[in-house]
Symmetry: C2
C-alpha cells in the first residue's frame, strides 16, 4: 500500500504525463495514467493524438500482467460511456485486475460523472477520488472549460519590455525577448490546438505560427484569424472572440497578438491564462501590449489574476498568471 | 581570530547598518561599522544625520575598553583627512587599541584613498581591504557616484500594471499597487535625500512626497521639481536632469514621476536603479509609465539592466533592476 506521500508523487507524475497530450488529444481530454505495483511504475500512458488510445489503455498495455494487484493513478475518472472508437476504460481497468484506482478529477462529462468510479467499486476495486483535483483540472483546463463554460481554454501570450511595450513606435519588435524565451513560446504553441492573431498582426508580420523546435515540427497548431474579412489559405477566420465556442476540436487556444486582438479577448473576459515573457529592457513610448479592454474603474481590475508560475529564461523572465473566477 | 565566514557575516551586518544612514548622512558617506571582540559584537555604528558622528566614532563609543584587541569591520576605509567637524577615524581606531581592521571599500576620496589604511598599518594594526567591496559600494552608491561620476545615485520608481500602465487613460491611478507596496515606497523615500517629480505630476497629483510611516515622519526628503518654471514654496526647481550634479547634499535621488520626467532622466542615462512595483492587474490603453527615452534600435536596449532584488509585497511584486555600466 502506498502512503499518501507516494500517492501524491505518483499522481503528480500522472499529471505531468497528461501535459504531453495537451493540444493533441481533442476531442478527448488529455488524461495521464500511471500503473504502480509494489512501488514500481509498470505502465505509463497519456491520451494520444486525436484522442485514442486513452491514457488508461496505453498504460495497461505496457503493464500487461503486472497490472494484476496494482494501483492505477489517473488524472480523470475512467470513462464509462460506450464509444465506437474504443473500449470503456472502467472495463479495461477491472479486466486487467487493478485492485486500487486513485482518481484526481471526477469526470464532468454527464455520460460518466461518477459512473466510472461506481462501476469500479461494484467490481470490488478500491477507488479514491479527488487527490490533486485542482492540479489535474489545470492540466486538462481545455476539457474542463469545454464541459463547464462550453468554450476552449484561452491563453494570451505577451512578449514585453519592463515598461509593457511589444515594439518600438516604428513597429520594430525583433527582438525584445531572447532565444530561450522564444523557444519556450514555441513549446507553448505545441501545447495548443490553435493559435489566433488579429488582422493587423497578420498583415504586418505574416507570422507562420508554427513550432520551430526539432522533433515538434508536426505539432504546429491550426491558425486562426480574428477578422471580419476572409481568411487567407491555411487560415480560418472568426469574427468575434465569442465565436471560439463553436470551434470544433479546439480545447486550448493561444492568442499571440496584436494589442487589439488581445484586448478584444480580455474585454470579453475570455482569457484564462497570461504568459508574460518579460525582457530586462526599457523601450519608452513604444507600442503598448494591450488596446482598450473596457476598464473604467481601477477597482474592477483587482482580484482577477494570480501568479501561478515563473521562471528565468536566459536574460528574460516568464510569469504565468491565471484568471481567478468565483466558482 | 575570526575565520572568513565570520568576516563575511560581520561585514554583511556592517553593510546593513550603513543602510540606516542612507538619505541622511550627506555630506558624508553612509558608512557602517561593527566592533567585534572574541566573536562578540561590542559596538555598532553608522554615520549619523548630517554626517557626524562617523560610524567608527559611534561604534568605538559603544565599545569603550572592549575595543582593545578587537576587530573593526567598516564598510569604507576610515577617513584620514583632517576636518574641523571631528577627529580622523584612523586615529580613533588606533587610539582605541583595535588590533585588526577589515575594510570593504577603499575610500575613493583623494584625501584618504589608501592613506587611512596606511596609517593604521604604520601603527601595527592588521588591515584587510576589499571584503564585500561591491556590496558596500552598492549600499553607499550615492557617495561612490559622487566621487566617480560627480552626481548623485538616481533611483526611478514606477508603480505599474502588468501591461506597464501607471494610470487609466482618464488619469486615475488610485490604486494600482496595494498598501504593502505603497508602504515600501515610503520606506524608499526615507532612504533618499531628495525626491523629484515633473511639472505635470505636480499639477495633477499635488504630491506631498513625505514619508508617511510611523517613526520616520522626520525622514521626508527634499522636494525637487523638473521644470523650466519657478518652484512653489517648499520645492526647488531644476531645469535639466544634468543639473542634479550641482545639487549640494543630495547623494541619493528618487524620481517618482511622471512619464515625461522619468523618460528625460533615462534619455540622459542618469538612472542607476529601477524600482518596479507591479500589481497583478491589466489596464489596457492606459497611461504608459515612460515617455520617449530616445531609443531607435532594440539592440541598444539590451544589456543595460540587471535584476538584483525582488520580493512579494502583499498582492504586488517589487523588482529592483540596476544599470550595468562598463567600468
Amino acid at each position: 500500500m502506498a502512503d499518501s506521500t507516494d500517492d501524491r508523487r505518483f499522481m503528480a507524475a500522472a499529471i505531468a504525463l497528461s501535459e504531453r497530450g495537451r493540444g493533441l488529444s481533442t476531442p478527448n481530454p488529455n488524461v495521464g495514467c500511471l500503473i504502480v505495483r509494489d512501488g514500481v511504475v509498470v505502465g505509463r500512458g497519456w491520451t494520444q493524438k486525436g484522442g485514442r488510445p486513452h491514457a488508461e489503455a496505453q498504460a495497461l498495455d505496457q503493464a500487461l500482467d503486472q497490472a494484476r494487484g496494482a494501483t492505477a493513478y489517473v488524472t480523470l475518472e475512467p470513462c464509462f460511456h460506450l464509444s465506437a472508437r474504443g473500449p470503456r476504460c472502467a472495463d479495461l481497468m477491472a479486466r486487467a485486475g487493478v485492485t486500487r484506482v486513485v482518481i484526481a478529477l471526477r469526470d464532468p462529462d454527464p455520460r460518466t460523472d461518477g459512473q466510472g468510479a461506481e462501476h469500479l467499486r461494484a467490481r470490488g476495486i478500491q477507488v479514491e477520488m479527488g487527490l490533486m483535483a485542482q492540479e489535474a483540472a489545470s492540466a486538462m483546463c481545455g476539457f474542463v472549460l469545454r464541459q463547464t463554460l462550453g468554450r476552449p481554454a484561452v491563453t494570451l501570450k505577451l512578449g514585453l519590455s519592463l515598461d509593457g511595450c511589444i515594439a518600438l513606435k516604428n513597429g520594430s519588435s525583433r527582438w525584445i525577448t531572447g532565444e530561450a524565451a522564444r523557444a519556450h513560446a514555441h513549446l507553448e504553441r505545441a501545447r495548443h490546438d490553435a493559435i489566433l492573431v488579429g488582422g493587423g498582426t497578420l498583415r504586418a508580420d505574416k507570422p507562420r505560427l508554427d513550432v520551430r523546435l526539432r522533433g515538434l515540427e508536426n505539432r504546429s497548431p491550426r491558425r486562426l484569424l480574428l477578422s471580419r474579412g476572409a481568411a487567407p489559405k491555411g487560415w480560418e477566420a472568426i469574427e468575434h472572440p465569442g465565436d471560439i465556442a463553436a470551434l470544433a476540436h479546439v480545447d486550448h487556444l493561444l492568442i499571440e497578438g496584436g494589442a487589439a486582438a488581445a484586448a478584444s479577448f480580455l474585454h470579453a473576459d475570455l482569457v484564462d491564462r497570461l504568459l508574460l515573457y518579460r525582457a530586462p529592457i526599457l523601450i519608452g513610448s513604444g507600442l503598448p501590449g494591450l488596446g482598450d479592454i473596457g476598464l473604467s474603474d481601477l477597482a474592477q481590475a483587482h482580484g482577477r489574476w494570480r501568479l501561478t508560475d515563473e521562471r528565468k529564461l536566459g536574460e528574460d523572465r516568464l510569469e504565468v498568471y491565471e484568471r481567478q473566477r468565483s466558482a
